[in-house]
């Protein structure tokens, strides 16, 4: 059915960060691929036309971290619900962290997940395999077999590896085969029992703090071992100005490391905890305004490579408890584009550069597909209206998780259509 479709996306402003293109152009799709831009290709007769007048046509968004909650946490969300959220958010490709139950530490689990996710209308799913068995930080997983099963990288989700010898060996082993390692920099001792940034807000609210040093110490360890092992390292969810400075300096000295920031940390600070809002209970914690401002500037300058949703659907029971007992995380797949646009507006970042942070840059880190709209590429496309706005509400969210600190806010940008492999996966029906 997909193969029969010949699609004409008409009247839109094409923004293709991978190729530096930003112009009013029609594009033409056949057999799941982009077959032309500008003039109608020879002998092309569209059997469907999408009117993109006033809209932006860009590559489908690539999200470096979205929890689909399968296997093990189906009461929080299912593949079905979260895939609907992905396409509603214009996300056509995502990677999911290994913190499922059981964790993604066996090839069979990964095969099952990728098989179940390979359905028409679903975003492309690339699992990150566990780096250690059970994420326990003790024994290495069968990386080669997990890679063959579909893992694109290896990591520990939000856990850290306490034993530095294990970490060094894991990096050496991964580097042997050129597998990337994705890690969150958080010292498990300094973050023990902590629930909020160690600062004025935590002091006032009586919440146990997590100092910035928890991030910088762990980051220093990771960077030193990356240099030692030559492993390709990606730092997930950077949260502080100090950590970002360290990372910039490390790169200048030749260490091979990329990093991302979440939509939450790009916009919020510990002050947004307000009066114990459990939706602001996140990992890493929301930090100070100075940190937030550094992250915003870092994403603009390119010091931070990508923006991710860190999508974490949590059921009501996990949030209807006191702040410090609340489960960490926020739903985000449907907010990635609006919050990227909001940041771009506030920071005066041109759309071409802003969209690179959620398309071509994360695609490069993922290493699977260029997220390009050049002729011959797979037609994974997002068409959105940059002028329309929408209020974040429980009713509007397709994700099973309604947990987000942005509830009630009006955000810019509404997705009109999402195409995956040249087929319409989402139509807002506007």
């Amino acid at each position: 059915m997909t193969n029969m479709l010949k699609l004409h996306i008409k009247g839109g402003r094409l923004i293709d960060p991978a190729n530096g293109v930003d112009q009013l152009t029609d594009i033409f799709i056949a057999d799941g691929l982009i077959v032309g831009a500008g003039d109608t290709p020879l002998n092309f007769v569209a059997n469907s036309v999408l009117d993109a007048t006033g809209c932006i046509v860009c590559p489908g968004l690539v999200d470096l971290c979205a929890r689909l909650r399968e296997p093990g946490f189906e009461y929080k969300a299912t593949l079905q619900s979260e895939m609907a959220a992905a396409v509603a958010g214009g996300v056509t490709r995502l990677s999911c962290p290994p913190d499922t139950d059981p964790p993604l530490d066996e090839p069979g689990l990964v095969q099952m997940l990728t098989h179940r996710a390979r359905l028409p209308g679903f975003a492309h799913v690339h699992p990150v395999g566990a780096l250690t068995v059970q994420l326990a930080g003790e024994r290495l997983v069968e990386m080669v077999q997990l890679f063959d099963a579909g893992c694109v990288a290896f990591g520990q989700a939000n856990r850290s590896i306490v034993d530095t010898q294990v970490l060094l060996r894991a990096m050496h082993y991964a580097a042997t085969f050129g597998f990337p390692i994705w890690l969150q920099a958080q010292d498990s001792f300094l973050s023990r029992n902590g629930v909020a940034h160690d600062g004025e807000v935590a002091a006032r609210l009586g919440l146990a703090g997590i100092p910035v040093a928890a991030e910088t110490i762990a980051l220093a360890t990771i960077l030193h071992l990356a240099q030692e092992s030559g492993a390709r390292v990606h730092i997930r969810r950077i949260s502080s100005a100090a950590a970002l400075e360290m990372l910039i300096a490390a790169r200048a000295s030749g260490i091979n490391a990329t990093c991302d920031v979440s939509i939450n940390h790009l916009h919020l600070t510990d002050a947004d905890i307000g009066y114990f809002n459990p939706h602001a209970r996140l990992d890493p914690p929301l930090r100070s305004q100075r940190d937030r401002d550094a992250l915003r500037a870092g994403l603009a300058s390119g010091a931070i490579d990508a923006l991710c949703s860190d999508h974490t659907p949590v059921d009501e029971d996990g949030k209807q408890v006191p702040f410090e007992e609340a489960e960490v995380g926020a739903t985000g797949l449907e907010l990635l584009l609006p919050l990227c646009l909001k940041w771009a507006q506030e920071m005066n970042v041109p759309l071409l550069a802003a969209l690179a942070r959620v398309t071509s840059n994360p695609a490069r880190i993922l290493g699977q597909h260029a997220a390009s709209l050049a002729v011959g590429q797979v037609a994974d496309i997002c068409v959105f209206d940059p002028k329309a706005t929408a209020i974040v509400s429980r009713e509007n969210l397709k994700s099973q998780g309604h947990n987000t600190p942005f509830l009630g806010l009006e955000l810019p940008g509404r997705v009109r259509y999402t195409l995956i492999d040249g087929a319409l996966a989402y139509d807002a029906g506007l």
Binding site: D198, E200, R204, L205, H267, T269, F323
Partner: protein, 328 residues
């Protein structure tokens, strides 16, 4: 980011700025604090009557909801409610529902269905009474009042208010005082409530005295001066507010030993001599004699620790009377 959210507004005041719940002294206007203290004054006399009761809460049900063990605070709330003629129901939840897996809000819903007018809540988690107040508002039961009887490290507003009452009783004018809070500020909900109370009432210098391991990061932003040297910190103060040091602080590398703590931060007659001659010594209880305070100071002429307890009942009566417990 400005969020149009219920979590951005303190639910203890309604849109007219009137007291709905007592959750924290943080954000409580000076006029309301003063009104509570003024209301408490005549209640101190109720205890001296032959019939120690006034009928202000007759027919109202006050639920003492204690998710964390406490004998002293629960008892004073119970006495206060009974002197106001309320029906008092005591629940020690850590030994009943919570152990069976019932959530905090399920417990609240069940008790609300029993026609509760007021919840007096103690919980080990900071912010738990806020969650309850937000939940009651979101489910159309705004008439049920919540009084925070201590939540985690966050707040213990009635303790803070009774301390303000005590200071006013002995010192009259807050605007000329230098006051030191000594001890484990990091883990202390009492200290936080005291700091907010003192700064709101216009005390020009509030000091915090503790080793660095027991001072929260950024506490200066709450309007206090931090002293690590107790002798320096006590010099010339009018009021010394001691905090309780819990034994478990000796674990986790916060302090080496009770003996060493006492040597540096225990209140002895010799250190107290650095304060003003008429300085008063306060303590929220229960005291650890020989750890944070020397017996000769605790039992000495400058100590006002037992009057604090009596004032506590009057202040809690004032809070409950002002909240009124429903009044639909």
């Amino acid at each position: 980011m400005n969020q149009p959210l219920s979590f951005q507004r303190n639910p203890q005041l309604n849109s007219n700025g009137e007291l709905q719940h007592l959750l924290s002294i943080d954000g409580l206007p000076r006029e309301i604090i003063e009104r509570i203290l003024d209301t408490a004054a005549p209640f101190t006399l109720v205890a001296e009557r032959e019939v120690k009761k006034v009928p202000l809460l007759r027919g109202k049900s006050v639920f003492n909801l204690f998710f964390e063990n406490s004998t002293r605070t629960r008892t004073t709330f119970e006495i206060a409610a009974k002197r106001l003629s309320a029906d008092v129901i005591n629940l020690n939840i850590n030994t009943s529902s919570a152990a069976k897996g019932e959530t905090l809000l399920d417990t609240v819903d069940n008790l609300a269905a029993m026609q509760a007018d007021m919840f007096v809540v103690r919980h080990a988690a900071s912010g738990a009474p806020y969650l309850i107040a937000q939940h009651l508002a979101a489910t159309g039961r705004k008439h049920i009042r919540v009084v925070n009887a201590g939540d985690g490290r966050h707040a213990h507003p009635t303790q803070g208010l009774l301390d303000m009452y005590t200071i006013r009783h002995y010192k009259k004018d807050f605007s000329q005082l230098t006051i030191a809070i000594v001890g484990d500020v990091l883990h202390s909900r009492v200290a936080r409530s005291q700091i907010h109370g003192l700064t709101t009432l216009g005390v020009p210098e509030v000091r915090v005295i503790a080793p660095r391991t027991l001072v929260p990061t950024g506490v200066e932003r709450m309007g206090v001066r931090v002293f690590n040297d107790m002798r320096e910190g006590l010099r010339g103060v009018d009021v010394v507010m001691m905090l309780r040091l819990q034994n478990e602080r000796m674990q986790g590398a916060l302090l080496p030993s009770p003996q060493e703590y006492f040597k540096s931060y225990g209140l002895t007659p010799e250190k107290l001599a650095l304060a003003k001659p008429n300085a008063i010594v306060m303590h929220p209880g229960p005291m650890n004699r020989g750890v944070e305070i020397d017996s000769s100071v605790a039992d000495g002429a400058q100590a006002v620790i037992l009057p604090q307890v009596s004032f506590g009942i009057a202040v809690r009566m004032a809070v409950m009377a002002m909240l009124g417990g429903g009044g639909q």
